[in-house]
């Protein structure tokens, strides 16, 4: 019944979509990090109404499953875009929206909330004295950001961000709903062609695991390098 050779063949087939999946996950990670940082910054300004609105949005995004958001975006994004561009008299055909764009938008929004929490936590870990020390040495705001805040916050946020990266890679298996083929979707396609789903899914699990092991290794190395001079 269970054929190890088929597992190997499936494994090779699945590897073909790994670069694309990783790239997609990376784009989502970068976008959600940027968006998350923006959210954190806006929240730190403590603007009365804006703060509450973002707070509600955050809890909404945190509480809804990705798949629900994906449906919502799939059905509403084309319409929203068409309406928005209509304001600037740009004609937009809602049917021309690329499915990859839908996935990127959905997941970036969804994970930005988690990223903003990660960044907030990292900022909290930063000693206020350091900023004061830098300022007293005559550093400009940009210099304080570049030389003091960002390196330390990055290092603090790195493990969690990496974790988020793995979570995004795994969550992308939902993207097949809107025709984006990731690792898991490829496994299903391979399984459908050979009618050996079990073997294909075992292969997919191995691919995921391999990615996780590799990434963990790379990040550990990176973190050790970054920690030099701070420890």
């Amino acid at each position: 019944m269970f054929d190890i050779i088929v597992v190997f063949e499936s494994f090779v087939e699945i590897l073909k979509v790994v670069p694309k999946t990783l790239l997609l996950a990376l784009i989502i990670l970068v976008l959600s990090f940027t968006l998350g940082a923006t959210i954190t910054y806006i929240q730190s300004l403590n603007i009365p109404v804006v703060r509450q609105v973002i707070g509600v949005l955050q809890s909404f995004l945190r509480g809804t499953p990705n798949v629900v958001l994906l449906y919502l975006v799939y059905y509403s994004l084309p319409l929203v875009l068409a309406w928005f561009l209509g304001l600037f008299n740009v004609t937009f055909d809602p049917t021309s929206l690329n499915s990859t764009a839908i996935v990127i938008v959905t997941f970036s929004i969804c994970y930005s909330v988690f990223q903003s929490e990660i960044i907030r936590g990292a900022l909290h870990s930063l000693d206020k004295d350091q900023i004061e020390a830098a300022q007293s040495l005559g550093y400009s705001t940009t210099q304080v950001l570049r030389k003091v805040i960002i390196p330390q916050v990055m290092m603090e946020a790195l493990p969690d961000t990496m974790n988020a990266f793995l979570i995004i890679i795994k969550a992308l298996s939902l993207a097949f709903l809107v025709t984006v083929v990731d690792i898991f979707a490829q496994a299903r396609l391979v399984g459908a062609q050979s009618f050996s789903y079990l073997e294909a899914f075992v292969a997919a699990a191995l691919v995921y695991w391999g990615i996780c092991v590799l990434l963990t290794y790379v990040i550990d190395k990176l973190e050790n390098r970054m920690r030099r001079g701070y420890a």
Binding site: T179, L189, G191, S194, F195, Y197
Partner: protein, 278 residues
């Protein structure tokens, strides 16, 4: 007073409990004392009218009702139906978690090799193309789908195999199509075809599209069947299941003979699909 009330209600509860227990006992006594094997059957739970969960929360539809009719005919077997998604059903059948799979399945050489298949089909499935209204005359068969925007296809199922098979046979007239998970409901897919997001949906026609088209007042051109395939129940390949397969085949043949299949078909599809059987 309070105490009296308490004891009365307590007695009432006891009575109710006793009544329930009595009922259960009599039900158990009524069962046959023979060996009854429970057969786990995976069915679709969201493909109306082929197989779906009714208003009362029970599985119903053409296939579940047919299975119930077969169950009645088979002595020594009891079917336990469970809703499962496409690939989950097929994996469960591979591993033996399910003994039988009913999802409007069309045979393929691989399936014949991996599973036990009854000799008797459970009715044909008609593949039709549902095209945007203005494509009438433009899209009438699979040959016309080249260069058209086809609704994404799930990688488990007859449509996927049909289109792949077509592409293998017609290397110079390739149909391009994307695959996707079967998460977007057929009704929305039809709406998208209506709106021109896609030109055409290739789909088995026994899944209630006509109802959707009429109810939503969609402008959709439905072609003649582009393919007619008998669908089968698939059974997990094991020694003890060979007898089950033979019995299911027998029961299906009898049900067709008696007109039960036609009745169910009329009830759920609004036509007798047996007329298309070759």
């Amino acid at each position: 007073m309070k105490r009296l009330l308490l004891s009365i209600s307590f007695a009432a509860v006891l009575l109710v409990l006793a009544a329930c227990g009595g009922e259960e006992e009599s039900a158990e006594g009524a069962e046959e004392s023979g060996e009854v094997r429970t057969v786990e059957v995976a069915v679709s739970s969201s493909s109306r009218p082929l197989s779906y969960v009714g208003d009362d929360g029970e599985l119903t539809g053409y296939e579940p009702e047919l299975l119930r009719a077969i169950d009645e005919k088979l002595e020594g077997y009891e079917f336990n139906m469970e809703g499962a998604s496409d690939s989950a059903g097929e994996i469960g059948l591979d591993t033996g978690q399910y003994d039988m799979l009913a999802q409007g399945l069309i045979l393929s050489p691989e399936r014949e090799e991996s599973y036990l298949v009854p000799d008797e089909s459970n009715g044909p499935s008609l593949m039709k193309i549902f095209a945007t209204g203005d494509q009438e005359g433009e899209i009438e068969s699979l040959d016309d789908l080249q260069g058209k925007n086809v609704v994404p296809v799930t990688p488990t199922g007859g449509v996927f195999n049909l289109l792949n098979g077509y592409n293998e046979e017609h290397p110079d007239n390739q149909i391009e199509f994307d695959t996707s998970d079967g998460g977007i409901p057929t009704s929305d897919r039809l709406q998208e075809v209506n709106d021109g997001v896609y030109d055409a949906l290739v789909h088995p026609s026994n899944l209630g599209q006509q109802e959707i088209i009429e109810e939503a007042g969609l402008d959709i051109h439905v072609t003649e069947p582009v393919e007619i395939n008998p669908t089968y129940f698939l059974i997990h390949d094991s020694e003890e299941n060979t007898e089950l397969r033979d019995k299911v085949s027998e029961a299906l043949a009898e049900l067709k003979e008696e007109g039960t299949v036609s009745e169910l078909s009329n009830e759920f599809y609004g036509e007798d699909i047996l007329q298309y059987e070759e």
